[in-house]
């Protein structure tokens, strides 16, 4: 971040730290000589503190000594291709262009571009990085700059990075992992590839990421590579998450662990992989674009080491390509030990989705009681709303955008109705209910959010929907709210005339909990009374052209630290000790405390991930039809939401 200040091109600055434990010097690659000169002039002789890209270590430097080296000539010379194409001047020389090794061939290496389509990629990513992704307990993966904590998933058999081998005895806790995703037997039985492809297409269309993944794995098994090579016995998959700038140390996959034929599918971002034949001291640089499948067979698999350099950009055919988050799916055939004959391990697969470990590593209770609050909701719904309550109220709440259908439902109620607003949040719909002459009792699981509903301040910029006439100010100052879980509403049977439940059902992560919510609404509303339920639709346009890639996703929320500070004081993060008042320290603290929250340093935001379950056309009606005392009056789509109006029988 110190060097970014001097980068006039905005393409980013590369910092190369030698891979030794004690760091004496580093190279900084600027894209323009003027930028480098300015950096030297400003920092010469100063003390500076900075972090390495991937390792996150903090280096406190003594007085800096900076020397300028014009390295662009060298990179131009090496980057020149036989067709005379010149590499862009000013590229750091460490980020060698792949064209420098165009003349080298690695026998057995094959790259299949566009192995998956963009739609397939989206759906796969939604599953693999979504709420049900079976991340393994944090792995320490060796890389050139030391070891790195990387998120990995294993299917079929666990690959252990420390021993660089497959864990074959699956009874041991460390060897537990989900089975390989499997396609339906009747699809698999058909040899016609079109049957498989149609199944994949349908899975993608319906946002069934795990089924699509199973289909893609089968597509890989059936693919014929050059020289008639194919690998139908793939029985192991490792998913690696490479954050920007991360690499992996140089290695050959343990020959006794995996058979010939290793495949790697790159998703979301391309990357340059380096191959080195140690005997002949030859190097080959290969750019792996997103959605491509890499095959390593024969010499490429057994005689050439491969690795990914730790840096934030790659240079391919003269073009500098910045790296983004890359997810790699490595597909391999795990073998029994040489003593046992070294034949392929039995394929362990299942079509139970989302994939689960054989041994539940959560408390057994979650299996028995489907209504218990899942950790996904605790971490990615409850805790997040508690933390963002103030910002939520200031931005969305205050903006006062009410869904027209929901508002009309409230205006249509007879005067003097008692309405339950389940999951009322900051009380956005309260004024509409009061102005209609009715009384609202709001419940929500988040106390910080509820508190923002009290005495909602009124100013010149208060939107009309949040304004309350003067004889109802007493209601606004003391709204009727209670902290409660929609799974167990603290209201008597038949105690209210109507109920609304807006933007709640998409935060419930199991079928049983969604059903329970509807049952509770049906219980508290008197017979003849009506209920309005609204939740996010998978189809985001009325004509379904824009869709979420899966039914269960993480939706980001960009939280500003200034609001987080306030939430903290009102109970957002009670147990954290924070001595510093600076915004970015607050942001970092929150990012560390929340699973999956990211700290966007440049924007100074904490990006929380909220768990959301999205409803497809017909899903909500199906759910309601399973509650005997509810009758469907109307259903529809409004502004990215599906809604139901139900009557209690």
């Amino acid at each position: 971040s110190i060097t970014n200040h001097f980068d006039s091109t905005g393409k980013g600055v590369e910092v190369f730290v030698p891979h030794k434990k004690s760091i004496h010097h580093c190279h900084i690659g600027m894209r323009k000589p003027e930028d480098a000169q300015r950096l030297i002039t400003s920092l010469q002789g100063k003390n500076v503190e900075w972090k390495t890209q991937a390792g996150g270590e903090c280096i406190q430097s003594p007085k800096l000594f900076l020397d300028y080296a014009d390295i662009t000539h060298r990179s131009v010379a090496r980057g020149k291709r036989s067709d005379g194409h010149e590499v862009e001047r000013g590229e750091p020389s460490r980020s060698e262009c792949t064209s420098a090794t165009d003349h080298i061939t690695v026998p057995g290496l094959e790259l299949v571009e566009s192995f998956v389509s963009e739609e397939e990629e989206n759906v796969l990513l939604a599953a693999i990085t979504g709420p049900y992704a079976p991340w393994a307990p944090s792995q320490v993966v060796p890389s050139k700059t030391g070891s790195v904590r990387r998120r990995v998933q294993h299917y079929g058999y666990v690959f252990d990075y420390e021993t660089a081998n497959v864990l074959r005895k699956r009874q041991a806790a460390a060897a537990a992992c989900p089975p390989m995703p499997k396609i339906p037997d009747k699809i698999n039985a058909q040899k016609d590839i079109n049957v498989l492809e149609q199944h994949i297409e349908k899975s993608v269309e319906e946002g069934r990421g795990w089924e699509a993944l199973a289909g893609i794995i089968e597509r890989t098994r059936r693919h014929t590579f050059q020289n008639n090579l194919s690998y139908p016995l793939i029985n192991q998959m490792t998913v690696n998450e490479y954050r920007k700038g991360e690499g992996i140390g140089s290695h050959i996959d343990t020959p006794s662990a995996f058979d010939d034929g290793l495949m790697s599918l790159s998703l979301n971002s391309g990357i340059v992989m380096e191959f080195r034949n140690k005997d002949k001291r030859i190097k080959k640089l290969v750019y792996l674009p997103a959605r491509s499948l890499l095959l390593l067979s024969g010499p490429a698999r057994y005689e050439w080491e491969h690795h990914i350099v730790t840096r934030t950009t790659d240079t391919h055919n003269g073009e500098v390509k910045p790296r983004d988050l890359r997810i790699s799916l490595t597909l391999r055939t795990a073998l029994t030990t040489p003593e046992d004959g070294g034949s392929p391990m039995i394929r362990l697969e299942s079509n139970a989705y989302p994939p689960k470990w054989d041994v539940t590593h959560e408390s057994g209770n979650e299996e028995k009681d489907a209504l218990i609050t899942p950790s996904t909701e605790k971490e990615h719904v409850h805790a997040v709303y508690d933390a963002i309550a103030t910002q939520w109220h200031h931005t969305r709440g205050r903006r006062g955008v009410l869904w027209p259908g929901a508002t009309q439902f409230l205006l249509d109620l007879p005067k003097g109705s008692v309405v339950a607003d389940v999951g009322c949040g900051d009380g956005k719909y309260f004024p509409a209910i009061w102005e209609a002459g009715s009384y609202v009792i709001g419940t929500d699981i988040s106390l910080p959010l509820l508190k923002t509903s009290i005495g909602a301040s009124v100013g010149i910029d208060t939107p009309e929907s949040r304004q309350v006439s003067k004889h109802r100010i007493h209601l606004r100052d003391r709204p009727a709210v209670a902290v409660a879980d929609c799974m167990n509403l603290p209201l008597r049977d038949n105690s209210v005339d109507a109920a609304i439940c807006i933007a709640v059902m998409h935060h419930l992560s199991t079928h049983e909990r969604r059903l329970r919510c509807l049952e509770e609404l049906g219980r508290i509303v008197k017979p003849g009374g009506r209920i309005n339920v609204q939740a996010w639709a998978m189809e985001q346009d009325a004509d379904s052209r824009r869709k979420f890639a899966s039914t269960d996703v993480f939706v980001p929320f960009n939280a500003q630290p200034k609001y987080l500070n306030q939430s903290r004081d009102s109970g957002g993060l009670n147990n954290q000790h924070c001595a510093v008042n600076e915004n970015h320290s607050v942001a970092e603290m929150y990012a560390k405390a929340f699973d999956g929250a990211e700290y966007d340093e440049r924007k100074g935001l904490v990006v929380f991930r909220r768990y959301c379950h999205l409803y497809r056309q017909g899903d909500m009606e199906d759910l309601a039809s399973q509650v005997p005392n509810l009758r469907l009056v109307e259903s529809g789509y409004e502004s990215g939401n599906h809604f139901l109006i139900l009557e209690v029988l």
Partner: protein, 135 residues
Amino acid sequence: MRLLTHNTLRNSSQKAKGEGFPLKITATEIRVEEAPVLTEDEQQLSFVKGILGMLDWSALVKAASEMGLENALPPMLTEDLVKDEDFLRALFHVLMNVHLVNGILTCPVTGREFPVMDGIPNMMLEEEECEAVRI
């Protein structure tokens, strides 16, 4: 928490078996706030008439006395009272203007206590108190 709100609340724990109502009020801080009456008489009256049907009257009478309003309400709701506009105005006051700011709500069946702080009752139950999946 107003008396109107209290009238709907119950302990929903499994042990209470749906009978955790009415919750006994132990008040440590009460505030009586006057809602403006002047121009809004019509609206207040129609509001009170509208909600009459939803009220559990005996629970309301008991709660009112626990909030310090002894004998503020008659023990039974009669036809005559419903037509009496003065009565309805007084009822509006009892339902809407008497606030429990701090205190405790206690389940009559199990004794389970729910705190009320700054007017907000916390009705959250522990997982063990909740009804398990109906098999």
